[in-house]
Amino acid sequence: MNDINTTYVLMAAALMGLGSILLRAFPFVVLKGKTDQPFIAYLGKWSPAVILSILVIYCIKPSMTDSQLALPAILSSLLVVALHHKFRKPLLSILSGTGVYMLLNATSSF
């Protein structure tokens, strides 16, 4: 096993951490005391739904460009939607969807 210098790895992690902290803190510094303004309140009310629908596409996108993964990803996502709509039990929806995805993946690779 080749060795990557530990100090280098920790410095890299610290720098990535620093970049992420700056981004995480930025909106809270900018919006400090302004969250009750009607415009900011309006954005705050609706942006979670907007952002989550974008994140869903962001999560599914890598599988869509892979011919082996596209169909399992679509079918499993539909299963998650159907199960969650019917039962509204997050664990059930997530575990079943992931299980079926793994199964479909295993069978399609033969």
Partner: protein, 228 residues
Amino acid sequence: MNALKAAAKDTLPIGIGYLPLSIAFGMMLVQIGIHWSIAPLFSALIFSGTLQYVAIPMLAASAPLVDFFITALIVNSRLIFYGLGYPIHKLSRKRTSCLAIFTLTDEMYSLMTSEKAKDYCEHKTLWAHMISYAYWIIGSLVGALLATRLPSMKGLEFSLTALIIVLCMEQGYSKKRSFPFILGVSSSVVALTLWPDQFLFLALILSMAGLSLSYWNKKKSALEATPS
């Protein structure tokens, strides 16, 4: 104690989403020749799945240190939008709000803006953050320790996609309006067409612009409706 229990229950789906990805991260880190003890530290310092996966080929190629900082700013640029809607007012103490901001991820943002979190107190909010953070760190440690002994986990990463789908549907049930979802999907389609490499950030900018427009429209029509 009750706050801890309740937070543990609500963050269980996040744990199910985080564990496979953090375990896989720990395995990969060890596989490129990094000591197992670094994995949990790495996860504790960054706490961002996508970014940590991007770091692996960079570390293997001994990329210049400044590149790690720049990559973090690019890959995680979406985090600047998470101040919108996050209930920071629940965290009255500076220390707790700093901890929550430091551990803010896609999933924590989604949980804390959900219907479920409406009645969260300061303690419960903080516990939810710390438990999810712990899942991520412990997963990395487990993955790094078992790197050579674990069977392939191909497909397990879908748990995070399933979690995001579930959280998105929960937003739908609580908001009961379709326009934010239509806005999100159409912004994504436009962004995917225009600039697929930076689709996420572009889609977020477009959708926030759309949301601002809808606000001014609403305000304008409200003004027109009132007789002067």
